[in-house]
């Protein structure tokens, strides 16, 4: 086979992935801390109370980023699962499995903070609204993915079966996103869209974007961290693991 010009696959080989991600994690972790601090400071101290909701709207600074992360991480998980399923790339399978818990946690946080925001503003913790229901389905998809992955003994079959489930569930993400427009039930429409300018005060938007990037950096650090552990477990018999684990081999 002709030598490919760009060594794309160099980083998908387990030892390279392990070493590279190991060097990157502290940077993403540090960035997450800085962004969380500035985001929370902007959102709680700099941003004024909302003329209607008073201070309960500040829940938005965690509710919206968590919801965005829950959807984005699911799509990312499905992409990695597809790569693993189609081209048998081991690190892609490992990444898909590493994303699921963090995605599930953000989905739970989106539902939890949404409920606590809904009570003072709508008067109810939970309503069978299109957006809330499809987000709950997303949580079940994440939990189903993890349960399926854990239930099958053989690692390769487990990866394949859960990849199929992840891909089947991807259709749910656009449903969540467009649910507010299609069914127009209780949850309000998107106030931040790439097409139109956001209908929000700039300082609130700044706090929201800071918190979103903070959640993003946090997710990268945690997912890479879990992926490295996953990789060590899968490759425990190989030389490169023994070398890095300080074995005298």
């Amino acid at each position: 086979m002709a030598q490919p010009r760009v060594q794309w696959f160099k980083f998908s080989s387990p030892p390279n992935f392990y070493d590279l991600s190991g060097r990157l994690i502290p940077w993403f972790g540090g960035l997450a801390v800085v962004l969380f601090i500035t985001g929370l400071y902007t959102g709680f101290v700099v941003a004024p109370p909302d003329y209607q909701q008073g201070d309960s709207y500040r829940i938005m600074f965690i509710h919206v980023p968590a919801a965005w992360m829950s959807m984005f991480l699911y799509v990312l998980m499905a992409v990695y699962a597809a790569i693993g399923l189609i081209w048998r790339v081991k690190t892609a399978e490992v990444m898909a499995k590493a994303i699921a818990p963090t995605g599930a946690l953000f989905t739970f946080l989106a539902l939890w903070s949404g409920a606590l925001w809904g009570k003072p503003t709508w008067g109810a913790y939970w309503v069978w609204d299109a957006r809330l229901t499809s987000e709950l389905i997303l949580l079940f998809l994440y939990l189903g993915y993890m349960a399926l992955h854990g239930a099958i003994e053989d690692r390769q079959r487990a990866a394949n079966a859960s990849a199929v489930l992840a891909l089947a569930g991807v259709v749910n993400v656009p449903i969540i996103y467009f649910s507010v427009k299609w069914w127009n039930t209780l949850h309000q429409g998107a106030s931040i869209t790439v097409t139109s300018s956001p209908t929000m005060e700039t300082v609130m938007l700044t706090a929201l974007l800071l918190m979103t990037f903070a959640c993003w950096m946090y997710s990268i650090a945690v997912v890479l961290w879990r992926a490295r552990l996953e990789l060590l477990e899968r490759e425990r018999r190989t030389k490169w693991v023994l070398e890095r684990m300080g074995g005298k081999a």
Partner: protein
């Protein structure tokens, strides 16, 4: 400070959201740390076993 915590009467909801978020994120990191320590001990022992037995 007190009125900051009160959040205009919505303190329970605001700090209920952020408190759980903190617990969840810290919990995830603590869980990973514990898993990492257990794995390193296991792999170090495995490496020693393989190191001693002539392979």
């Amino acid at each position: 400070m007190m009125e900051f915590l009160a959040m205009g009467g919505h303190g329970l909801f605001v700090w209920g959201s952020y408190g759980v978020t903190l617990l969840v994120l810290l919990g995830e990191m603590i869980w990973l740390r514990r898993r990492r320590l257990a794995l390193r001990r296991q792999l170090a022992r495995l490496a020693r076993l393989q190191g001693d037995s002539p392979s």
